[in-house]
Symmetry: C2
Subunit: 97 residues, 2 copies
């Protein structure tokens, strides 16, 4: 149960887009490329992390459930409990839109 | 209860931003300036509609619950069950960020 002091943080969607994603040890894994919203419920279905590539060329994209991302104020980005290796084995997508 | 044929539509957040908002008779009321997300739940807390002004100067902003917006494919934007007059009487905000 959240403590009384645990306030709900609201964030603007355009601040989420481009936010960095880190693993638990603070290594940068990628960034949030897009968030997909279920229109009916207004709930984020998943975020899309972009990683790899250089200057936007060769980037790969990977969907992440929003629940996997936890904002870390010290890092100024999101921490995901996973690591690049887990994404290497998983399906990755080229430019999706 | 939704019919089986009623598919959940997913939309990218950056497509929501800037989408036009219409009233029930198809008049353009404004557009979606931003969507505010509750970070913990990943749910849209509210959208912010911008209206009025000219070339971005003098625009007013008004928060709208996401549930008030219904996507209309014919109009290519969102319909809200309200009208400009209702917003005129309501609190409006200047540039909020």
């Amino acid at each position: 149960m959240d403590t009384v002091a645990d306030t709900s943080r609201l964030i603007a969607a355009d601040k989420v887009q481009g936010a960095k994603i880190y693993n638990a040890t603070g290594d940068n894994l990628g960034s949030i490329d897009e968030i997909m919203i279920d229109e009916k419920s207004g709930k984020i279905a998943y975020a899309i992390m972009s990683f790899g590539g250089f200057l936007g060329i060769g980037s790969q994209y990977h969907p992440l459930p929003w629940s996997m991302l936890r904002y870390d104020a010290n890092l100024g980005g999101y921490v995901v409990n996973a690591d690049r290796a887990q994404f290497k084995g998983a399906p990755a997508y080229g430019r999706w839109h």
